[in-house]
């Protein structure tokens, strides 16, 4: 089964990270990634550019409103993710707890759904289309 490790940083942690040696962070993350590749569990991942480059689409009103932020009530920023392929929830927890992260950062660990989660809806047009899209590499 696949799990996504979702990195969530507090705004303070993001601010504090600016004082850190970026090369050190790259090295720590690189070693962590390498350990998962060596163990044969790494299935993907990416980091996200700073939240200041991003924007928010808010559905609070009648029409969605696009704003530059701020992120309102959100006190944690989603900054990157890994996808790992493991045998159990506990193994996902073990890998997650090895991430070189510090105070102010959390990893939310979520199982990634697959076709079997939609087995009861196999006749649904869009469930079928999704299989075709995936086959086409979309």
């Amino acid at each position: 089964m696949k799990y996504m490790l979702i990195m969530r940083d507090s705004a303070e942690a993001v601010e504090a990270s600016k004082d850190l040696d970026f090369e050190q962070i790259i090295n720590a993350m690189g070693a962590y990634n390498e350990s998962m590749i060596k163990a044969g569990v790494m299935a993907g991942g990416d980091g996200l550019a700073p939240a200041t480059e991003g924007f928010v689409v808010d559905f609070a009103g009648e029409k969605p409103i696009v704003t530059d932020g701020p992120y309102g009530e959100v006190h944690e920023l989603f900054n990157g993710f890994w996808i790992i392929e493991v045998a159990s929830k506990e193994e996902a927890a073990e890998w997650a707890s090895r991430a070189p992260l510090g105070p102010g950062t959390k990893l939310e660990v979520r199982r990634i759904t697959d076709a079997s989660d939609f087995a009861d809806f196999a006749d649904n047009e869009y469930v079928q289309k999704e299989a075709e899209w995936r086959a086409a590499g979309l």
Binding site: I37, K38, A39, G40, V41, A43, A87, S88, K89, E90, E91, A93, E94, W95, S97, D114, A115, S116, A119, Q128, A131, E132, R134, A135, G137
Partner: protein
């Protein structure tokens, strides 16, 4: 952090997960010191028992692998002291324990390579190689191995015990093979991994058509090996083959567990991310420029299927060529049978039947369901339904897999007349 990981589901699954991640490196470290894989596994096992006892109170240590290794070493020293006699294997551990701190523990990849070659050593029987590899390289518990291999836990334990005794009595050194033996020994390692995969992919026994968890373990072992032995194209070829084949898992059985044959599979349900990974692995193997081996040719055949939009639009001519090359490199009746199927698709069933009949005349594959099932299929396409029915039913009787047997009977029943 203390205890936090044990809150979810008790300590057992957490210790299992740590063993899965660290087991190979712990055993490799201890085996390097003692020169004895069996002793190393025993010591690591004692450390795991200690973890089950201590971690519910203390929490999972930050560096769980180092913790287990240190405990295993201390156990070794205790045993040594009790015996009050000098044993070189323990002295090496004592020396290490005196000089290194727990936190410094870092397994060396070369030691894991030695462990892989030792677990797949040719003095061991195939089933001992499989059990020991899953245990010490794959980091599975004996209960998990038993469940995946459909045998009792006691049987797995017996196979592992026998493997350790055999390694000890044959005085197999904890070393990677010499250059003169390298290729044959690597072949043995890859053979074990592929055997684990095929046992999962096309379960030879039981009421299930395949056991995906077992095949997934083989694929993980293959990926680990590809990192450990980055200059061996055969490892990447095997990984590619397993990626292509397992990409079809979701499409190979219907909701009630009935197998769906390649012709009838919904190709949109193939795992295309895996197909891309297989393609990348095969390309990396090819780029090493040492020519394709048997796994590479099989991977290329699987790739033809994996990338074809339908059975009709499959490049059967290319598959025939690949089977011919495979037949020169690794001749055998199963390869010849595969070639016959490809020929039947490329140029018709009559040509294929000649190949199959030649195989049958040579007495090949007697007692296997493979030959009559292919022959029955070809006869059906030629309209020789009475003979086709006889062969399909013969194949149904010969296979030990209940699901496969049912499919063959259904085919026979569906024949006209």
């Amino acid at each position: 952090m203390a205890g936090s990981r044990s809150l979810m589901s008790g300590i057992g699954p957490t210790v299992d997960a740590v063993w899965r991640i660290e087991g190979a490196r712990i055993v490799a470290t201890l085996a390097k010191m003692t020169g004895d894989v069996g002793l190393a596994e025993d010591l690591a096992q004692e450390a795991v028992v200690e973890a089950l006892r201590q971690w519910p109170e203390s929490g999972v240590p930050q560096n769980a692998g180092a913790w287990l290794t240190a405990v295993a070493k201390r156990r070794a020293i205790d045993a040594w002291r009790r015996r009050e006699r000098l044993d070189e294997r323990y002295r090496a551990i004592a020396h290490d324990l005196a000089t290194a701190s727990d936190d410094e523990w870092q397994a060396i990849d070369d030691d894991v390579v030695r462990l892989v070659f030792t677990a797949c050593h040719p003095v061991l029987s195939r089933e001992s190689q499989v059990a020991l590899t899953l245990r010490v390289v794959g980091g599975l518990t004996t209960a998990e191995i038993a469940r995946m291999l459909l045998v009792p836990v006691a049987t797995v334990q017996a196979r592992i015990t026998r493997a350790k005794k055999t390694l000890a009595s044959a005085r197999v050194p904890f070393e990677a093979p010499d250059p003169s033996e390298w290729s044959a020994r690597l072949g043995s390692v890859l053979g074990v991994v592929y055997l684990i995969f095929t046992e999962g992919y096309a379960a030879t026994a039981g009421d299930r058509w395949m056991r995906q968890d077992l095949a997934n373990e083989a694929l993980r072992l293959g990926r680990v090996l590809a990192q450990l032995l980055p200059r061996e194209p055969a490892v990447l070829e095997l990984v590619a083959l397993m990626e292509f084949q397992s990409s079809r898992f979701a499409a190979r059985v219907s909701g009630d567990g009935t197998p769906i044959l390649l012709t009838d599979q919904d190709r949109t349900r193939w795992d295309h991310a895996q197909i891309r990974r297989g393609t990348a692995a095969l390309a990396r193997a090819d780029a090493m420029g040492r020519g394709r081996g048997a796994y590479g040719l099989q991977a290329a055949i699987a790739q033809c299927h994996a990338t074809a939009p339908s059975v009709e639009d499959t490049d059967w001519d290319q598959i025939v060529v690949l089977y011919e090359a495979l037949g020169r490199l690794a001749p055998g009746p199963v390869v010849e049978l595969g070639r016959a199927v490809a020929v039947s698709m490329a140029t018709g069933p009559a040509n294929a039947l000649r190949i199959v009949d030649a195989l049958a005349a040579g007495g090949a594959l007697t007692g296997s369901h493979l030959l009559p099932s292919v022959r029955g299929e070809l006869l059906a396409r030629l309209g020789r339904t009475a003979e086709a029915r006889r062969d399909l039913l013969a194949a149904a009787d010969l296979t030990a897999n209940e699901r496969e047997s049912a499919v063959l009977r259904a085919k026979a029943a569906a024949l006209p007349g």
